[in-house]
């Protein structure tokens, strides 16, 4: 039995079968994008172990086809075991080993990217300066001590913690936050509406607002708008209950022990030890047309702890790589007065480069040895 399994896993028959399944999967997944959109098709087909089918309206999920992860892992197992079984030292095999090593590196690199990389966005108007980027799908409750006009002290509570409810305390906060209710997606109205209930708060902007929870967004173009009610509790007693919501763009202020605080539910911020200052965004067009020729952001990069201070031009196909992050020209404001930089932190970004070289050189050695053999044979005749 074990022997048979070993034979199956080391066989080229399995390789070919898996490749054929992979081809069908990619084809199907590509066609499915027309219906499902890129994001959902990607998750259903490529970032999954199985593709499921639900008959009619039922909640049954029947796996009907292997997904990208399953095929990928099986191919890796197949590859390693086949190399183990057939490995023979000798110069003839260098090419083959390099090729497969390159492929493995590529697949692992992508897996690492899936796990380790974070994407955020830095939106700057002309002249604006920021030392943080925002993660566009995650929220945090920020408690900011603004007493010192020079420096803000921020305590940020991630949404995942808020969803678990209960009491939250932190050394940087003189009070405990008790989460009374939290919806990861919600609707707020200023008049009574169907299914909405009136918000019950004792402080801040909550009065005169109705709310309800909503299911999470699956659409690529829309984002969740979470809301919640929190109570601030001090050793002396409660400071009141507050409505916090992604819909409220202005922070709510409060004072305690002669210190002033701001309370705000906002997109999760990733702070940097440096500032980025947008000097000028440019949207060039070809003369006499609306065809974009180039988008570029001239920014000033300042890092107090090293004294670094320089100007950088970020434009299409030419990102800024700095401090383990990469800043790409991603989008711009409709009035051409502001830029959107995509900030990607991806520790494994170099793997495709190595993989490409490994596989390319491997294929060339392998095929050229075939070719030389062939040429030699023909010459011999």
């Amino acid at each position: 039995m074990g022997d048979r399994l070993y034979r199956v896993f080391t066989s080229l028959r399995l390789t070919v079968t898996l490749l054929a399944l992979g081809l069908i999967l990619v084809f199907w997944g590509t066609l499915a994008q027309v219906q499902l959109g890129l994001y959902k098709a990607q998750n259903d087909f490529f970032r999954s172990f199985f593709i499921y089918w639900s008959p009619g309206q039922s909640s049954l999920r029947i796996p009907i086809f292997p997904g990208g992860y399953l095929i990928g892992w099986l191919l890796l197992i197949n590859l390693f075991s086949a190399h183990f079984r057939y490995y023979q030292p000798g110069r003839k095999k260098y090419g083959i080993i390099m090729i497969h090593l390159g492929v493995v590196l590529l697949l692992f690199g992508q897996l690492l990217t899936d796990v380790l990389s974070t994407e955020s966005v830095m939106h700057l108007r002309n002249g604006e300066m920021k030392n943080y980027s925002e993660v566009s799908r995650r929220y945090e409750l920020a408690v900011v001590d603004t007493t010192d006009p020079q420096v803000d002290k921020v305590v940020a509570i991630p949404e995942s913690r808020l969803l678990r409810a209960g009491d939250i305390s932190h050394a940087g906060m003189p009070f405990t936050i008790r989460v009374a209710a939290f919806y990861s997606n919600s609707s707020l109205t200023e008049t009574a509406a169907t299914d909405h209930v009136q918000v019950q708060t004792t402080a801040g902007t909550g009065s005169g607002i109705w709310w309800r929870s909503l299911p999470r967004e699956t659409d690529m173009d829309k984002r969740d708008m979470p809301s919640g009610i929190v109570e601030l509790i001090t050793p002396q007693g409660s400071l009141g209950t507050y409505l916090v919501s992604a819909y409220l763009t202005q922070p709510q202020n409060l004072t305690y022990n002669n210190r002033t605080y701001e309370l705000r539910l906002r997109l999760e911020r990733l702070y940097k030890p440096f500032t980025v200052h947008l000097l000028e965004f440019k949207h060039d067009k070809y003369p006499g047309t609306d065809i974009p020729k180039n988008f570029s952001s001239r920014v000033r990069l300042q890092r107090p702890d090293t004294g670094e201070d320089r100007e950088v031009l970020i434009y299409m196909n030419n990102p800024l790589r700095y401090a383990g992050e990469t800043y790409y020209q991603a989008s711009f404001d409709p009035d051409d007065q502001g830029t959107v930089l995509q900030v990607v932190h991806n520790p494994s970004w170099l793997t495709p480069y190595f993989s490409c070289v490994l596989v390319g050189v491997g294929l060339m050695t392998q095929f050229s040895s075939h070719l030389f053999n062939f040429a030699a044979k023909r010459k011999a005749t």
Binding site: R13, L23, L38, P287, N317, P319, P352, G360, H370, T381
Partner: protein
Amino acid sequence: MKVLYKILPWFFLVLFATEIVAVLLPKADGRFHTAEFGRLPVLLNGRIQPFDSVARNSLLQMRSTGDVPLEEVPSWQFWHHPQKLKSTEWLLEVFFNPSVADTRPIFLIHHPDLISELKLDNKGVEKSGLRYYSYNELAPVLPEIAEQGRKADETEDALRTTYQKQVMKLANALVLYQRLKSSIEPEGTHDFTSVMAHYQASLPAAKAAFRAQQAGEKVDATTLQQFANVAKQFEDMANFAYPLVVPPVNPADKDAWMNVGASVLASIPDAKIQPAVGYFARMATAYEQADVAEFNSAVAGYKTWLATDFARVAAKGRAEYYFNQIKVFLHATIIYLVAFLLACGALLTFGLAPKLSESMRRSSFYLIVLAFVVHTFGLVFRMALEGRPPVTNLYSSAIFIGWGACILGMALERVYKLGLGSAVAGLAGFVTLLIAHNLALGGDTMEMLRAVLDTNFWLATHVVCVTIGYASTFVAGTLGLAYILLGVFTPLLSRKVGDTSPKSKTRDLTLGKAMAKMVYAIVCFATLFSFVGTVLGGIWADQSWGRFWGWDPKENGALMIVIWNVLILHARWGGLVRERGLMNLAVFGNIVTSFSWFGVNMLGIGLHSYGFMDAAFRWLMAFDASQVLLIALGLLPQRLWMSFRTTGPSDRTPAPILATHT
């Protein structure tokens, strides 16, 4: 007879080479120096191009042809060349003699419902089932077309019917035509030179009157009104004209081209009309009055004026005009076709009439080399005109795929002198250039590249690699289908093609085995280029938006080609397929590649569907169906294959490679 066989290849080569040389030689201009006019540079769609390109691409958008036939000749009378208005001749009429231009049948409508809706059944001229209408014939229904076009425009792309797409295309063509008419002089102008002279003369008085009015003095209202009327005409032109024909006032400011209207308005403050406007006015008047000498002198004068500050721009115009005229790819297409037919003849008579076969094979190979030279000339000329690597859009990818396939075919022919390589090169060259020709019917093929694509480095590496991957996969597939056809319908596959001396290692080499070797080698080559090309594409994506792989349809298409080639190699190494299996897999590679090349662009069919893509979709389906049929043929049991009927199964070899290690 022997001499004849020797001469034949040279005869073909000289015949076609002479034709090419004749095409490349400069031609004499007409009575009106239309060619000289056609060479003059303008700025349109973000690039410098000659008037001739403006004319040609506009005609393509309106009528799907590059010139205007003046009489309709049935297609079967191919020896009868109809009289034609060449693109620039037509443009001159539109600019300077619009009343005649309005009678030319230049608007193509081929939707029967649209024709009957607009009550045009009894109008227009017909050719091969297509109906062409003149502006005058459409004039009564212009409001209706505009209204329907507006409605279609409001409909979401994906939901538009073919009828609506037709209406939009027609409405756009009409707008384009009207824009062209007011590109040099205000519509309805007679004797533009006098109009301009009068305008310039009245300028100081008008300015003085205007200043006086501002100062609150009493002025003659008619002077101001008359001037305002003329200025209004130029303002309309400034808003509506199509190409920018007036070179920048300051030659260093390369992008500051203007149209005539804008230039005239800009010259109000210092009352200095641009020289270019003066030359165009002279051309307009001379053409209208049929004054040949004056027209030619104005064109020559403008050309001389350009030579001082705009020599490079003028040279670009001349070069592109030349390229438009010589139609290199059309000539290459014809030579490829002849070479393909000769190579087929060589293959089929191989064994029956060896000497004739060899003579045809040689002829075919010579012609392939000639066609390749012409093809390369066109490819390089285009690259120089654009200042870009070879592939920038779908059109140029077709040209490059043909070119790459031709190199592979020639290489195969050098190794195995069987005519097979030439056949593949000829077929690939012919088909891809035909596809390119049809893609070019959409209009300009040298459009500017959007920001993210504006990088010669990645275009030269990623795009070229991937396209070579396409080309080689197609070559392998073509060999596969040749194998199936030759195997099933002829006894040729079992013919010995190697060295027949008793000690030779290739003594037992049959055509079938030789083809299997070719396919294997080409699949290896395809794997290398499609893999490296695909990964480079990922790296480009990482460079431009921080994502190596996004499962985008075009990426997936490239990945599918890689997977398929890798599958073929592993199936072959594992002995899961032998000769015929290899061929069937290679033919399926054609389907995979055609999906990646064209199919994924059509997925967006919902998003960007144009008339052509609908037609292309039908062709793609037909192509894929034909490949499936061929694979079915390839799956027939071996005893039904003519090649293997007598000799018995020959594809018992090769043995699985890896199995020997166990």
